[in-house]
């Protein structure tokens, strides 16, 4: 066996081990959710049950949390997608120092720990006598989720063929017309991705939300409180549902991304989106 082949085998084995490491804890958790035991554990195995899922569906706090999370998510989408788009449109026109400064300010939330974003939002709005709640949660989350949207739009706009727009304007189209017939169709795939990413980031966010939720407990806040105090396998059941939804979203998203790639064969070098930005769930995930 050549040294190269040994190296390949070794690397393959390493990656398989890595995958086991990634998935085994999650499988334990899923297994514990259907174990007929008072505590969330896989061993000893007491038999299969679905009663923890039943418990979960009868938990009014859970449904409230879900409601709050969905509302906050909708608010974050409504705020951060337009903000991200506006900033991307402005930044593609700016040059020099002004561009560097604005870009620096608008991406800085991505590089700021989530708790700090929550704290600064809380402190700032207290001056205006606004205390924690859904409103502040939407604002705090949007301040960094909009940055991700902006990066996605900037990547897309970089490859925009401006002659189309120029031609339309020269031929007498109104600005509204250009936006509706050229810009929006071109940006639509990115808008949909941005909506999905914004929602997922918001739905999973914990560290930023922790400081600004007031009494409006989102699902991650409720989940964390369950994990810390009320340990029953119902928490695992909730986890399994969360994971199932995540898998669906991840597969749909990847499939969309790959479909977008497949349309333009031979343009492998041109990735449709910057992956660092759009794959990240919660930069403070959660």
């Amino acid at each position: 066996m050549s040294a190269d082949r040994v190296f390949r085998l070794f690397m393959g084995a390493y990656v398989v081990m890595f995958l086991v490491y990634l998935f085994l804890p999650l499988l334990f958790m899923a297994g514990a959710s259907v174990n007929d035991s008072r505590f969330p554990t896989l061993l000893p195995w007491n038999g299969f049950t679905l009663k923890w899922f039943g418990d979960l569906f009868n938990d009014p706090m859970l449904w409230q949390g879900l409601g709050k999370s969905l509302s906050v998510g909708a608010g974050v989408i409504a705020l951060s997608v337009p903000l991200g788009l506006a900033a991307a449109l402005l930044l593609t026109e700016l040059r020099g120092k002004a561009r560097g400064l604005l870009y620096g300010v608008l991406v800085s939330p991505i590089l700021t720990p989530g708790v700090i974003i929550g704290i600064s939002t809380l402190v700032f709005w207290r001056q205006m006598s606004v205390s924690g709640g859904m409103f502040l949660t939407v604002l705090a989350q949007s301040s960094f989720i909009a940055s991700y949207c902006m990066l996605m739009f900037m990547a897309r706009l970089q490859r925009f063929d401006r002659t189309l727009e120029e031609a339309a304007l020269d031929l007498g189209a109104s600005h509204l017309h250009v936006v509706r017939r050229i810009m929006l169709p071109y940006l639509m795939p990115t808008i949909l991705s941005a909506v999905l990413i914004a929602f997922l980031q918001s739905f999973e966010n914990y560290n930023t939300t922790l400081f600004v939720y007031g009494t409006d407990r989102t699902l991650p806040i409720y989940l964390a409180s369950k994990v810390r105090i009320g340990l029953t396998p119902a928490v695992n059941a909730l986890g399994v549902i969360f994971i199932a939804l995540t898998i669906v979203a991840a597969v749909v998203y990847e499939w969309r991304r790959r479909a977008a790639l497949a349309v333009k064969p031979g343009k492998r070098a041109e990735r449709p989106e910057p992956r660092t930005a759009d794959l990240r769930p919660a930069a403070e995930p959660a």
Binding site: A3, R8, M11, G12, Y14, V15, F18, L19, L22, P25, M29, L83, A86, A87, L90, E93, L94, L102, V105, V107, P109, L111, T112, P113, V115, I116, I119, S120, V123, F124, Q127, S142, S143, A146, E165, L169, H175, L176, V179, Y206, N207, L210, L223, A224, V227, N236, I243, T246, A249, A250, E254, T276, A277, L279, R280, P281, A282, E284, P285, A286
Partner: protein, 298 residues
């Protein structure tokens, strides 16, 4: 500046231009700059009852910062948070580099696609749940202890929870993928001919990595390290779930200043210290790997 505005206007028209400018202004000032400035302002003021705010005692002071220095316990937690976050970052880097390299340069076709999805799925799963899964593994009657007891390797269950190592294990698990994807992204653009040329010229595999792949992956390594460190230093969820009173994290100290001691000014000072530390780490990485902000946020 005027030239820019007219070019924006020419492109999008007057109404859209005003909308764009107003949104960017509100975002930059209302959501980013002013809240940060307000937090910093808070951190330099004493904590006073509302009646005395704005009065003669409401002066700028370094007292909130001195408080951290004067509290050996909290100072130790702060230093531990930095040191442990650096350790988590280094561990994640070592664990992830081979995976990123395999994904970017060795896997092909269907394998590469499936592997990518297999990595994306846990990446999207909530931090709390990923940590919770380790709670089940490390608990007193959890998986590890059950196995150790059954094998007779230990007579008494080992207490993992509430210790700093448990937190670090949870953090590496939760953030490992934030290291994989940036490195993967930068390795993907490495020209395979470079590696082949080096191999044909007789370079051993480790030198190929040391001289070709790793230098090429520098921006990705920098991004991965920055993200991992920032997430580790700034997390509240993981130490809250896997830790205990003896393994407090600096974010927990900040939280208790806000919601238990109700001393927002001191909490703001501690938060600012955490922010400065993270910015310092970012600056260090950008210098060390010679990358700029545009490459980092690409």
């Amino acid at each position: 500046m005027k030239g820019v505005l007219s070019s924006v206007r020419r492109r999008y028209g007057g109404v859209a231009t005003s909308l764009i400018l107003v949104s960017c202004g509100l975002w930059a000032l209302g959501l980013v700059v002013l809240p940060q400035l307000m937090m910093i302002d808070y951190s330099f003021r004493p904590s006073l009852p509302p009646a005395k705010q704005g009065g003669p005692e409401d002066i700028y002071t370094l007292a909130n910062y001195a408080a951290l220095y004067g509290n050996p316990l909290n100072l130790a937690i702060f230093l531990k948070t930095i040191w442990s976050s650096a350790l988590v970052t280094a561990t994640a880097l070592v664990v992830c580099y081979p995976v990123a390299f395999f994904l970017a340069r060795m896997a092909v076709g269907r394998t590469a696609g499936l592997l990518f999805i297999a990595l994306v799925i846990p990446y999207w799963i909530n931090e709390i749940l990923r940590t919770f899964s380790w709670l089940l593994i490390l608990a007193r009657n959890g998986f590890v202890n059950t196995v150790l007891l059954d094998l007779g390797l230990t007579q008494e269950p080992i207490i993992f929870l509430g210790t700093t190592p448990a937190i670090l294990v949870g953090m590496v698990y939760a953030y490992v993928l934030f290291m994989v994807f940036p490195i993967y992204n930068s390795l993907e653009s490495l020209d395979p001919h470079q590696i082949e040329a080096a191999r044909d010229l007789g370079a051993p595999w480790w030198r190929i990595h040391w001289r070709i792949a790793i230098p090429h992956a520098k921006p990705g390594i920098a991004v991965g390290c920055i993200m991992t460190f920032m997430l580790a230093a700034g997390t509240y969820a993981i130490p809250a779930i896997l830790g205990g009173p003896k393994s407090r994290w600096f974010t927990e100290v900040i939280y208790s200043q806000f919601f238990e001691a109700l001393n927002w000014n001191r909490g703001a000072a501690y938060a600012f210290i955490l922010l400065i530390m993270c910015l310092g780490f970012i600056a260090l990485m950008m210098r060390l790997f010679r990358v700029n902000l545009a490459e980092v946020t690409r």
